[in-house]
Symmetry: C2
Subunit: 419 residues, 2 copies
């Protein structure tokens, strides 16, 4: 597929994030305004509430776009998703008759404050990257038995905390928690010393379900994707996670990028999951390519310093697709809702420079990594972490927009800390 | 505290569930009507939407009661909770001047269909019963090291699936899942063969929070309590739970009783948690009694058979209170919402007859239990499971109403099962 040219000139730049081929959905406001739905095009966001009000966009069940979330559009169903995308493509294409009318509702991205693009119904985080699972298993168990016995048969996942999802740009406060080092008899209550990021993609469920869905159905239920940073306190996790899994270690915050890049925009970039090492049971087998070729990088900027790119990887490294994860999620009959968010799991690649967490990059702190102006084992206060991603087309890119967050110091003394 | 006498005569029966001292909140409807808020009194539910409409109840921010959930009242805050309870107590007390007006809005419980009493924001399930944790640890590890190392220091919990919460009376379909027995090399996909219940209490968070709260603050944030059955597929759980905890094993359904018994009604029944085996860190210590003396029982009725009471226990057996759990839940800064539901964990007692799950009652299936007309290791299709609970006052009881569910057969072949 080639670049679709838009009359918004900045949308035609070959290395821009938001060409006409993309049309990602967000929620924005300018100072003093109510947040509402918008779509990114070049260096602008098109005010869709205004377009709907002006009759430029007319969806069944309208108004759907004068609200600060995309859930209503999701719930309207895939036909409405297709109708909206077709209409926006027509309005913004080179030569569009409505150009002057539409241009009135363009807001420079630089003036727009971005909000969470949807109400997160529930959040599930998976563990579906084989390089990551292998690295973690090698560190904490042994390389000969790095993967848990179930890992090649099930996309392992656990329920996360939806209330902790924040949009790119929000500071993330270092958490307190119970920590216990092997050399101590008793745990202590203190700020985390091993605070980490995890580079992930998030799949946004658009279509609700009751009962089990197939992998093919699951693929059609996904509205779009975001970049996702699953902030993780490794020391809290190490002490708490047996036997019921991570809890407070993952509940401080999970940051997502502000734009939902639709599955429709990513369609040309579908790739298959890697070859299976053991066959999957029939219900989890993919009927077609359901991963995407998305290049990813992570930059770390210390307070007052310059950025070092600490990781480069690709979403196609994952062993399980979001469609497989969503199918597995429903096997028990678990009802799914529009606005459910599925974290892919940490996306590491085969090489050291492809690792998607500090835990792996510094090998549990044993091999601190070099960054501009210092070294790092885990994140320090003031560190700014930025994730970026795009799919590379012929002469255009489908960009995601930054997924950024700065680590700020822990509170001096939380309520009830007894200090 | 003695019985508060009501002009609703059935509310004064010493062994009734809903005296004036109780006033539990639910959502009800009669056929063809919209669900709305109500309060149970004796053999009736008082239609609170109608009372509000008639001016008998006038809360700040009204109308709050013409909706099918209690979240709006919760969000109105503890002063409004107290105001509503005081007003209802006055309206329903013996000698109330408004008796005739109020009586018009009484609906016989027998005619009321009950719905979920609140929108479940998120669901967290804990593992805070020491007898249960000891039993499970003895079965799967060894009695000398039955408790995980963190267990006496943290109320262990994991995030559950809010979308799977159902109200008492809904059938529960036996789930499919991946199962693997030790003698097989590969897992299979099949209906669960070890489907179980867990007897728990659920605490309903009424006040939202940002950042960490103390145990005392957490106690004040809890709006009320329900009975809770955390249906569990033990065979799915055994295969999936390493390393990130239970997921699909717990996602089929969790049943709650239809009435939120308020913390205010339970106030006379406060008891302290059992003595600590090792001291808790200061932030988790209770400043006062925060458990409740609530007698609990579980009845199992096979299809077409008669009921056997298979378990009798008491909420006071728990090692951690809901207030301690909620405090721990916020240590990382995790935001809490009105409508969050916290499962206590399985409430077993010291004796065999006090065990709160089939897993424990049949000791993993090795010691099938006798019931009227047969034996059971795990639940069979058609089994009706009913949980009941009450706090015993002087001449009155604070009852919870049944928490009931029948196991119905698995689907013949789920979507994509490849059969």
């Amino acid at each position: 597929m080639a670049l679709l040219r838009s009359w918004v000139e900045s949308a035609n730049a070959p290395e821009g994030s938001f060409p006409l081929n993309n049309l990602p959905y967000g929620v924005f406001s300018r100072p003093g305004e109510e947040p509402r739905c918008g779509v990114a095009i070049g260096d602008f966001v098109l005010d869709l509430a205004a377009c709907e009000d002006a009759g430029l966009v007319d969806l069944p069940g309208a108004p759907l776009l004068d609200v600060p979330f995309w859930n209503e559009v999701m719930e309207a169903g895939p036909e409405v998703w297709a109708q909206l995308r077709a209409r926006l493509t027509a309005l913004l294409a080179e030569g569009a008759a409505e150009r002057d009318e539409v241009a009135r509702h363009l807001v420079p991205l630089a003036e727009a404050e971005m909000h969470l693009p949807f109400l997160v119904a529930e959040y599930t985080d998976f563990y579906a990257g084989k390089h990551h699972a292998f690295n973690v298993g090698s560190m904490f168990r042994d390389p000969a038995n790095a993967l848990p016995p179930n890992w090649l048969h099930i996309p392992i996942g656990y329920n996360g905390r939806a209330s902790s999802i924040v949009v790119s740009g929000e500071d993330v406060r270092r958490p307190w928690g119970q920590l216990k080092s092997p050399e101590h008899q008793m745990p202590i209550f203190a700020p985390s010393r091993r605070f980490d990021f995890e580079l992930e993609m998030g799949a946004v469920v658009g279509t609700p379900s009751e009962g089990m869905v197939s992998v093919a159905e699951a693929d059609r239920m996904i509205f779009g994707y975001v970049l996702l940073n699953d902030w993780s306190a490794r020391d809290i996790q190490a002490w708490e996670y047996q036997p019921l899994g991570p809890f407070q270690a993952k509940a401080t915050a999970t940051t997502i990028s502000p734009w939902i890049v639709t599955a429709a925009a990513l369609e040309p970039f579908r790739v298959s999951t890697p070859e299976r090492e053991v066959p999957l049971l029939p219900h989890l087998q993919e009927p077609g390519p359901m991963l995407y070729d998305i290049q990813l990088e992570v930059g770390l900027t210390p307070k007052g310093g310059t950025e070092t790119i600490i990781s480069r990887t690709n979403y196609r490294e994952m062993y399980y697709s979001a469609a497989q994860q969503l199918c597995h999620h429903t096997t028990s009959g678990c009802p799914m809702s529009a606005g459910d968010l599925l974290g892919s799991g940490t996306i590491s690649g085969p090489q050291r420079e492809n690792r998607g967490s500090m835990l792996e990059l510094s090998w549990g702190g044993k091999e601190p990594m070099e960054i501009a102006g210092g070294t790092r084992s885990f994140l320090e206060d003031g560190d700014l972490l930025v994730m970026r991603g795009f799919a590379q087309g012929a002469g255009y890119r489908i960009g995601f927009g930054d997924c950024a967050g700065r680590v700020i110091p822990a509170h001096a003394a939380p309520a009830g800390a007894g200090r």
